[in-house]
Symmetry: none
DNA sequence: TCGGCTATCGTTAGTTT
DNA sequence: GAAACTAACGATAGCCG
């Protein structure tokens, strides 16, 4: 048996934990501090690596507030609140978004959170798709290339045409 | 001959990287996506483990916006902007940790609410568009009719094909 | 309580499909 | 060109000073 008893285990090292609220207060506080630092570090790396702009606000159980921002937390928040793109406005939406001024029960808040997360994710996908479509449109002087008159195409043109359609399909649905 | 050097090394695994902007665009985008998800997961765990309230806003390269909030992103930002929780300190830590003292006006908060409504509205429009596209897809046994092999179409078929494309275009952009 | 330590767990860079 | 995979890297739970 080849046991290396020469090394004394000074600690047993990290253990797997389940992601649920930590009961012990002092452990919870320690974990909060460690993980808050870790979170900010991750955010910082994301900024540097990708050039993204990030703002984080953390409220501890007590009253303390910690914030991270790159390049500037207020600028990031402001840009978020004012929004950056697109056109139409008008009309309050019919979606199930609650007005934050109205106090909601915990259950309703959770519902809203889930909805918001879902909406954000889906909008991201849809916007990307929209951009791709618009990109295809603009590549041909403002009209759709797929609207070109195919009656007069030769077989070669048609094959190219089909290849383009397949490319579009990939971009749209992959 | 000898031992198991033949073990298939399918990947060489992760390599150490230096924290500086990634030059290659596509790598940068991939890293952004992966790390954004990782960051939000870390935030989520922090919330669950310690009961903290966290809001994160991420702007990717100017245009797209991603947000995370628990229990509610608006509430967390609001509390930050209004400073309803007395605070100060911050003491220590790394990074550019800002102190939440700069109040944003109610006007800006309302701007955010309008922005959210706008985004939701846009998503509705995009969803309808998506449904139309998917409807077109399903009409042909799960594949795209526009992906039919046009090389073998006769002129009549091609004209019908073009008409269908025009119909799709109308549905997409009306 | 805080900072430091370390074995282990979780994240992810590079690769493959 | 996204998604799955894998091994190396980085974060951290539990300990100790």
């Amino acid at each position: 048996m080849n046991n290396m008893m020469m090394k004394k285990k000074t600690t047993q090292g990290r253990k797997k934990i389940e992601i649920k609220k930590i009961d012990n207060l002092s452990n919870r506080q320690v974990t909060f501090s460690k993980r808050r630092v870790g979170l900010f570090k991750k955010a910082s790396e994301l900024c540097v690596l990708t050039g993204a702009e990030v703002a984080i606000i953390v409220h501890s159980l007590g009253k303390r507030v910690f914030a991270f921002g790159h390049p500037n937390i207020d600028a990031v928040i402001n840009r978020y609140t004012t929004g950056s793109a697109s056109s139409s406005s008008s009309s309050s939406s019919s979606s199930s978004v609650a007005d934050p001024k109205i106090p909601l029960g915990a259950h309703e808040i959770q519902q809203h959170n889930r909805h918001y997360a879902k909406v954000s994710k889906e909008l991201e996908v849809e916007r990307k798709r929209k951009e791709l479509i618009e990109g295809s449109k603009l590549e041909n002087g403002g009209s759709f290339w797929w609207d070109d008159p195919i009656e007069h195409m030769g077989l070669e043109d048609l094959q190219q045409y089909k290849a383009s359609l397949e490319e579009l399909k990939k971009k749209l649905w992959l």
